[in-house]
């Protein structure tokens, strides 16, 4: 079956020849009102340019990748989609990171596992339209009907076997009429999508090429590091920078807002001078400690009324009439993102504009915030994206960009601000601390007749996800959540909220299964059957897909059939993906030793199998590391020294990383048709694999040793 994709009236294609000849194709689905090209239904948005590729006469296919690359492998998977429909020779594809350009690209950010779902269709059209025009150009050259020709591996092939390369056709193709409709390929004909394609930047990465923000260098550029307050809720009272300024290599010491920036010619000289700063701080709002938060959690969990997120049936009555009730609480601390590359950004604020270079997950937001801060028009600001040495949500923030821009505007010089690891750990934007109280009511047969969750988060936004499973499968259900506002900065942290909520929900469901005397896997399957047969309220997950991953992992792991081994199970739906995992754990001298994890992920269409496996296994390692070793500062007033020994990154070192094998099965969705019409179910498994990982190892204790 083929898909016909129609360009609507708002769509148009911009064509131009490159300076050296060759075809440049850009797509703009929506035009601005100012251009007078749209119908009345068009959103009043600026011109949006969705995809961009060029073909040179010497046969180089350049595909611009607009979204920030932080290890999710988008610089390989985006071009794979374009190349698939283009029928390009992958070996001739060159990938170029696009600058921030809101006129050309839409949603040029990395976050929320949304890049592929958002761009899937337009990337395919970008390739398919170019292919169509290349074929038409060949038909004209040979004076034959284009229907007799086929495109394959970067060539258009004549029925008699002759062929012309895309490079040979590119210039002429640019003069062809832009098709109103393009034919997209059937999935059975995919040659690139779904295969394992190696990272396009491997060679540069393994040879140490300057790819990252910290590697950026500009002649005449200064370096800087910034001393920030030692606790949240404090501000600068006085600064004595005389000793620091007198150190060799130091150009200036600048105080702005709550920052003291040491500017110099090299990082080591700055590090030494910084130690000589004498800064006095004073209180500026609440200075909170972890014990304050513990008290607060208790108060809010016991509060008579908390905001209701979801209510089905009559929970009070269910609990009153219950044969058995179970109550458990789960708490997680603040946690630093700690990407391997510390925060950094280059800024050069000139009279005629601003140049920004560095690693950002949200370049457009960074530019907007810089424009506001400096009172400069956004179109006077350029932002060049480097590769990101990890992000995990930390680089969604703009603070590290703004500091660099403000400092450059003060010292009137190009400057790169680099954070130390301690800066990153102490002045980060943490995963919000949360505490959950779960309650379940069982009837005499062990059926869950009531379910109650109250979540309290500190700067968490909504701390619960009220439509998560088992919502829809329980007659009487109440989900409540409240956020406490604190001076501690928090932010999205890989799989926001669900990164720990999954742990709590799945650990609790195991406790309930135990209390009900049921097998944990069977217990979930029964709940799903219940949701399927007589759904209660809205159901926001796909019951069949969830069941399939559960049954697959149970079968592949030999659930309940392995002797001398404890098994733990978890299943989760988040970020549009379904993941079920089984951990095999051996008890050695009373200590659980993780032997193996089985992970089954239904993440929709897999673009790059190698990348998908990387994301699933990486997410699991991340989940295990944080579940087993994470620590939070005992007192926010004086956070720990912020070294790697007490926090997330170091823990992976201790993680039994070689002691288990991951058996990852990545399923493709059973129903391609529904997928095509619902591109939102084409996710990326980066975030979804992590939440269940931490709990499947904990849940081993809920499973009797066979």
């Amino acid at each position: 079956m083929e898909t016909m994709t129609k360009s609507n009236r708002r769509d148009f294609i911009k064509l131009s020849l490159t300076a050296g000849g060759g075809l440049v194709l850009g797509f703009q689905w929506k035009a601005s009102a100012a251009m007078g090209m749209l119908d009345e239904a068009a959103p009043a948005a600026d011109v949006i340019f969705n995809s961009y590729l060029s073909i040179s006469p010497d046969d180089v296919i350049t595909i611009f990748s607009p979204n920030p690359e932080l290890g999710q492998n988008i610089r390989t998977s985006f071009p794979m989609i374009v190349a698939e429909e283009l029928e390009a020779d992958w070996k001739k594809v060159k990938v170029v990171q696009a600058m921030l350009d809101s006129k050309k690209f839409e949603r040029q950010l990395t976050g929320g596992s949304g890049a592929i779902p958002h761009s899937w269709e337009r990337l395919r059209k970008a390739g398919a339209t170019a292919k169509h025009m290349l074929v038409e150009a060949a038909a004209k050259r040979w004076s034959v009907s284009s229907s007799t020709l086929k495109a394959e591996t970067g060539k258009v092939i004549h029925p008699d076997g002759r062929s012309l390369t895309y490079g040979e056709l590119a210039t002429e193709a640019a003069t062809m009429e832009v098709p109103k409709e393009v034919k997209l390929k059937d999935k059975k004909d995919f040659k690139i999508i779904g295969t394992s394609v190696r990272n396009v930047d491997n060679k540069e990465m393994v040879t140490g090429k300057p790819l990252f923000g910290v590697d950026f260098y500009r002649e005449g550029m200064l370096h800087a590091m910034i001393q920030r307050p030692e606790a949240f809720g404090m501000k600068i009272k006085s600064v004595d920078s005389a000793a620091a300024k007198a150190m060799p290599g130091i150009v200036d010491v600048v105080t702005f807002k709550n920052n003291v920036a040491v500017v110099g010619k090299s990082n080591w000289e700055i590090l030494k001078a910084r130690k000589l700063l004498k800064i006095e701080y004073e209180k500026d709002g609440n200075i909170e400690s972890t014990s304050d938060h513990d008290r607060l959690f208790k108060e809010l969990l016991d509060k008579p009324e908390v905001a209701v997120k979801r209510k089905d049936g009559d929970v009070e009555a269910a609990f009153k009439g219950a044969a058995k009730t179970i109550k458990r609480e789960y708490q997680c601390p603040f946690l630093s993102h700690s990407p391997m590359e510390p925060m950094n950004f280059f800024a050069h604020v000139r009279a005629d504009g601003v140049e920004l270079v560095g690693p950002s997950q949200t370049p457009e937001a960074a530019r907007g915030a810089t424009a506001t801060l400096l009172g400069v028009a956004p179109d006077k600001i350029t932002l060049e994206l480097t590769r990101l040495g990890g992000g995990f949500g930390r680089r969604l923030k703009t603070d590290f960009v703004l500091e660099a821009a403000e400092l450059s505007s003060i010292i009137k010089a190009p400057v790169k601000v680099t954070w130390t690891r301690e800066d990153d750990m102490m002045g980060g934007s943490y995963r919000p601390a949360v505490r959950y109280r779960f309650e379940a009511a069982l009837d005499t047969s062990g059926k869950m007749i009531g379910y109650r969750l109250r979540g309290i988060g500190i700067n968490s936004g909504n701390p619960t996800r009220e439509d998560n499973f088992p919502s829809g499968a329980v007659d009487n259900l109440l989900i409540e959540g409240e956020e406490y506002k604190s001076p501690i900065t928090t932010g999205a942290w890989r799989a926001p909220i669900t990164n720990f909520l999954a742990f709590a929900e799945q650990a609790f469901l195991d406790e309930v299964a135990l209390a009900a005397g049921k097998d944990p896997v069977q217990f979930r399957l029964e709940l799903l059957d219940r949701a399927k047969q007589t759904p209660v309220g809205a159901i926001k997950y796909d019951i069949d897909r969830m069941k399939t991953v559960i049954q697959t992992v149970a079968e592949k792991s030999g659930w309940g059939k392995k002797k001398n081994l404890a098994q733990g199970f978890s299943v989760y739906f988040s970020h549009r993906s379904y993941v079920a995992q089984v951990a095999e754990v051996e008890m050695k001298k009373g200590t659980p030793v993780l032997k193996k994890i089985y992970a089954v992920s239904d993440c929709g269409i897999v673009i790059n199998m190698s990348g998908a496996r990387q994301q699933v296994t990486g997410g699991i390692v991340d989940g295990l590391g944080h579940a087993l070793y994470e620590a939070s500062p005992s007192k926010m007033v004086q956070p720990n020294k912020g070294t790697l020994t007490t926090t997330a990154s170091s823990v992976l070192k201790k993680c039994p990383k070689w002691k288990f094998i991951l058996s990852t099965t990545v399923l493709t969705p059973p129903d391609w048709v529904s997928l095509r019409f619902h591109p939102q179910v084409v996710p990326w498994p980066t975030q979804s694999s992590k939440p269940p990982a931490s709990v499947c190892i904990t849940n081993h204790s809920h499973c009797k040793k066979k």
């Binding site: 300057p210 391997m340 990387q614 296994t617 997330a648």
Partner: protein, 152 residues
Amino acid sequence: MASYSINVNGEKRTVDVASDTPLLWVLRDSLGLVGTKYGCGIAQCGACTVHLNGNAVRSCSLPVSALGNANIVTIEGLSKEGDHPVQQAWQEVDVPQCGYCQAGQIMSASALLAKNPKPNDEQIETAMNGNICRCGTYHRVKEAIVLASSKI
């Protein structure tokens, strides 16, 4: 400030820096060899790993004054064409995610294989234990080392 003459990737390089300047910052700020990464500054993450007379060392904690005539090799000097067996294996196994720690991982792995071309699992784990990867590429790191070992 003092002048130091050091051997980096087979070349004599002269730098004018304070005696306590760690090799990491000499490489990055003075010589522009930025493949060696700053990750923690306290020898805990392994991102700054280089070879010192063939041994894997943390350049962030090695002052320039202690280098003497030692031979230093960085990721840029591991091979001329980027085709050291470890670099090849890394590409073949498709190890990197974000890639930031990988130069350090490769330097640790290549130092291990130079001394012990056929390491067992435990020896690999011990040699690589000081290199942190926040993306969690550990399984492929190991797979690539085993592959490189089979080709040496």
